[in-house]
């Protein structure tokens, strides 16, 4: 059917008017989140003799995050998130706080250029600006409510960092040769100038970035990304400031066949990190590095098979603060919020995996120019995710979703080695195998709504040959299994078991204030953390659910040098997406 220009104009106008009509809404509207959480912790029966530590605690809170959206015009919005929190046990005003959690203005100019000021959540590439999942979050069967809390409280949505500043983007559409050209730029302040306890002012730390991404054809995409974390020396009283520009080019090719979709992506880039000293007689500390990664992904049209293979090379001096900052910073003094001490000797209890899975206060939201410390017990192969420096090797995965989608099985394999040895000419070799199987059995055990079984396991191996001082061998295996039986469309009974085990030895890197490696600390790991949980869950939607669980958790030190511990928890959560 041919549409005449006049008719086209009329149709377009009607469509435009209908869109305008559809976008009409009150000037002020609300959404947000509300949560009620209660936890009672108690010492386990098998705990060591202890008459001076906490025997049991109970805590909880109710909170309401009310997002107030104000639309003065249809292309502008001010959003303020007000948090009202009331501690359980705080009656009649005690334990109540009211805070502003987010404040944002966003809009579009002439419906062409989008801008945002205030709080924002940014992400570029895995090597420039990216918030990678923490080591502890990888395996968290049955712990989705906790993970939701951690991600929400720390603004960890969609691998983005929460930043505050100004961002704008727009795109150009072309008639030929290039389909679209997207421009994006931002400038944010991850840390404002603050007065330290020593009486000095830390400088303002800014993060700026820009991206140009061109969709050349439907098959080819080219992107150039730049990000720079830097400090403004004059805003503080320290005599040193950091600059960390990172550049990254991305070439992406996608080809669709009759049975397969092929995607190939090449990342390549450089970084430079410099500590610039104000004193003229002091040389700047500069380190430069580069990286590249080639990844080829293949997905069958029927989604039955999905596999990829790739190679990654990251130089030892590659530094990208916004991509290498960890959610868990083991160089800071992290303490468990419950049962911080145990035994009659009042030993400081080390953080167990349970603490990491449940406590949102342990997590970091601040970008740091130095490499943060990590814990080899949890992850030693890629502690800074794909941007981990001093790594080269191959990786690949294979995923199968068969039996009418009832089974999903995935296997990830990684074989890496150091680019250069640390403290020796011998290089570490790393291996990682991760397996995940999900089986949605529809009529198992005559349960009407079926049973979901999930098994997830990850094994890591780190080895280095050499003499007795150089040689190291660290092995870890993390496994979890979850069973969920649907009693009704929304009500589920669940049980899970998880275990983290690691043994061997490793050398932790000791770095100075400027991130330079100057020493090593030998650590022996031989421990096992475990969690069992069972409970009920009622789910209205993905983000609105109630769950009650009983959890048993603890840690065993195999060589007996550190006392074991064992605790229990009754946990209730009701979370509502408003």
């Amino acid at each position: 059917m041919m549409i005449r220009p006049k008719g086209l104009f009329l149709v377009s106008f009607c469509l435009l008017m209908s869109l305008c009509k559809a976008q009409e809404r009150p000037t002020v509207w609300f959404d947000g989140l509300s949560r009620s959480l209660f936890a009672r912790d108690a010492m386990g029966a098998a705990s060591p003799v202890d008459s001076v530590s906490e025997r049991s605690t109970s805590a909880g809170y109710n909170l309401l995050d009310l997002n107030v959206h104000v639309n003065p015009t249809s292309d502008m919005e001010v959003m303020a998130q007000l948090r009202v929190r009331n501690e359980l046990g705080g009656f009649f005003g005690t334990g109540t706080t009211v805070d502003v959690r987010q404040l944002t203005l966003r809009g579009t100019i002439d419906n062409k250029i989008r801008y945002q000021v205030g709080d924002m959540f940014l992400r570029q590439t895995r090597f420039t600006l990216f918030n990678s999942a923490s080591d502890a979050e990888v395996l968290s069967a049955g712990f989705q409510p906790y993970r939701d809390v951690i991600d929400y409280e720390n603004f960890y949505g969609d691998n983005r960092w929460r930043l505050q500043g100004l961002q704008t983007d727009f795109s150009l559409q072309f008639a030929r040769f290039i389909r679209t050209l997207a421009m994006d730029a931002f400038i944010t302040r991850p840390r404002g100038s603050v007065l330290t306890s020593s009486g000095t002012y830390l400088s303002d730390r800014l993060l700026g970035g820009a991206s140009v991404v061109a969709d050349i054809t439907k098959q080819w995409q080219l992107g150039l990304h730049h990000v720079n974390l830097f400090e403004v020396p004059n805003s503080g009283t320290l005599d040193v400031a950091v600059r960390n520009p990172v550049h990254c080019a991305v070439v992406h090719h996608q080809q669709s066949g009759e049975r397969w979709i092929h995607e190939t992506t090449l990342h390549a880039g450089t970084s430079n990190r410099a500590w610039v000293f104000a004193a003229e007689d002091q040389n700047d500390l500069t380190s430069s590095g580069a990286f590249w990664e080639l990844d080829s992904r293949h997905e069958s049209r029927d989604s039955l098979w999905n596999w990829n293979v790739g190679y990654r090379y990251v130089e030892p001096e590659f530094r990208s603060a916004a991509a290498q900052t960890r959610r868990l910073d083991w160089s800071s003094a992290m303490q468990p919020s419950i049962f911080a001490t145990y035994t009659n000797d009042q030993l400081a209890r080390r953080l167990s995996v349970f603490d990491l899975l449940v406590d949102p206060l342990l997590y970091n939201q601040a970008l740091a120019p130095q490499l943060m410390q990590f814990n080899p017990f949890l992850s030693n192969v890629s502690p800074y995710s794909d941007a981990t420096p001093n790594r080269m090797g191959v990786f690949g995965s294979l995923e199968w979703g068969g039996m009418k989608k009832a089974v999903n099985a995935a296997l990830n394999l990684t074989a890496l080695s150091e680019v250069i040895g640390q403290g020796t000419e011998n290089r570490r070799r790393f291996g990682r195998a991760e397996c995940r199987v999900h089986w949605a059995a529809p009529n198992l055990l005559n349960i009407e709504k079926g049973v979901d079984v999930t098994f997830h396991s990850k094994a890591e191996l780190t080895r280095r040959d050499g003499n007795e001082l150089e040689e190291l061998d660290l092995r870890s295996i993390q496994s979890s299994m979850e069973l969920k039986a649907g009693l009704s469309d929304a009500l589920t009974i669940l049980a899970s078991a998880s275990n983290w085990t690691a043994s061997g030895e490793e050398f932790l890197s000791i770095r100075d204030a400027y991130g330079n490696l100057f020493n090593f600390e030998a650590v022996q790991v031989d421990r096992s953390d475990w969690i069992f949980a069972s409970g009920l869950s009622y789910e209205w939607s993905k983000h609105t659910y109630a769950s009650i669980q009983y959890q048993w958790w603890g840690a065993n030190d195999r060589d007996g040098a550190i006392s074991d511990f064992q605790y229990q928890r009754l946990f209730f959560i009701l979370t509502i997406d408003l």
């Binding site: 005690t94 992400r123 795109s171």
Partner: protein, 632 residues
Amino acid sequence: MGAVFCDYRLLCVSFSVKRMLTYSMVYALACMLMPFGLAAQESPGEPIFTSNVIPEKSPASSIEFSGFYRFYLYGRNQHETFPNNSGKTLALIAGDLYREPMLLLKLKGLSRERIRFSADFMINSIYKGSSQANQSLTLDLGLNLETTFLTDYGRFRLRSGGVAWYRQSRLTVWGNRSLNRMSLFERRPQTAVDAEAGQRYERYYANGLIDEGVRYGSRAFQGIFLEGKRLPMNFSFKGVIGKSNFNRSVEEGNDNFTACAHLQNELNDSLKISYNFLQSFRRESPVSADYQQYSISTGEVVYRSKHWTAQLEAGWGRFANSHYDLGGGEAVLFNLRTNKNLRVPLTFQLYRISPQFVNVTGNFLNTTVLEVFPNIAGVGATIRTPYQGPMVGLQSPANNRQGASLNFEWTAGRLKLNAGMGCFAEIDSTDNGLTYLHNVNGQMLARLYLFGQRWGPYNALNSNYRGTYEEVNIFEEDGITPARLRKFFSVAEVQAKWKSAFERRNIYVFALGRVNTCQPEFNPVPVLDDRALLRQYSSEIDVCFEWNSRTVLVMNYGVERIRGNQRTDVGDSGDLLARKQTSRLLGWGMDWSLSKRATLFLRHAHYRYSDPNFLENNLSGTESTLEIKMMF
């Protein structure tokens, strides 16, 4: 030449091709670089790169606000003070002396999954000028989440948060809900505003019930609440696990919890049977082994006939702490109430609550275990009720006590009379003293020292929320040795309500008289001579004159006399005589409806509290309040 020609032609062709190529390239470049559109990145097709989040416009929750604004100006001018007064005799205060909202903003919302959420913001300002820090925004009570499930097996309601108001049975969880014999002169913050000023007095005259808000008759809890109704075989249940403000310790977050449950079966339209359970546990400190706990199980039967309702609750309770085990004890509470439409409606109560039956969330006072009260300074002392042998009114049971009371109502024309009498006896002898609640000037004394324990010139006064009780020691005949005895209590109360009209303007008169005595021997009626250890007489009269539909003038006079015999404390007048207190209150005021939702209340009162035998118990002065309350 040919070659030249050819060359020329080739040159021309070549030139043309070059020019065409050049033009083509320029054209192509121009086409390539000339965008046909500049757009914000909201293309419906493939996502175009942006470092930021594409905002999703989700359907919003429905939210509404309600509440009230209450401007409260209070002035007190003390003419006579206690000797330890600092010298400040005049107090001018904006805002209630207690923790009450000036602006209460109740937020109520409904999520997309039809889960209700609510919060009540309390916004106060003390109006003390710019030198004072601004008041922070806080919550009056707390946050509540609530949802309802409709299933084939019944209707279930899940609530989480708090403070939420909860009750299940009189012996387990129940708020004070007495006979509403009181003066209307003093106003409470929760009291609602009526469209016409006289409606409140008319309601009190007609049925004696005053709407005191949702908390009336219930207890404050935080935690998880679950309720099921319309279950198979006429069963229903409700329960809570969480924390109550009666179960607090000095350190917030201690492992204190209270769990209660109520399972009911409605056998037929007339008969209901229930099982009630309560378990309260408190650890004094997370690291200490000190704890206390009590548990209660009761059975309850409610039978309703056409003319009367009988309710019987009986159960067993046990109290223990880390130092001793009080053991178990029984409690029986029987209420018989005839219907209001009878000529003379009656209410009969019979109870026996053993000393071991300890509970602070039920509808009775604890008199045997002092440690059960959370000994928290300030607002935590709100819940510290009279402990030592309290002399209380009718329908206010206590443990270690048994007794009966009878109340009746009678109407003769415009006169409505309700009266009652009761006698009670302690089950075990104790070395406790006595306490009595000040019926007159109790609120005035409480405002002098909020939530103070054992204060005043003789360290005998105790203030809780809008009330004061006084402690009295009892001695043997020698006047020195603390007495250990069983105490017997007798109470008589009478209230007369009369309504008339003058020039078509309503006049209400409410008169209330109470006699409360304690004696060492049983007596079914109050003992009005020195055989009684302590006698308390109080009379209060309220006169309300409805000037017009928007204005009511009110007047109040109250007098209270306390008489102790020589086995109680003696004073410092030199004659070594026992208590002979007199409290008087004379007040007047006005209620003026500013609109259907706003009323102005003015009150002014003269008070006097004195005792010729306890010379330092001598107070007098005036209290004035201006209150503007607007509901929305």
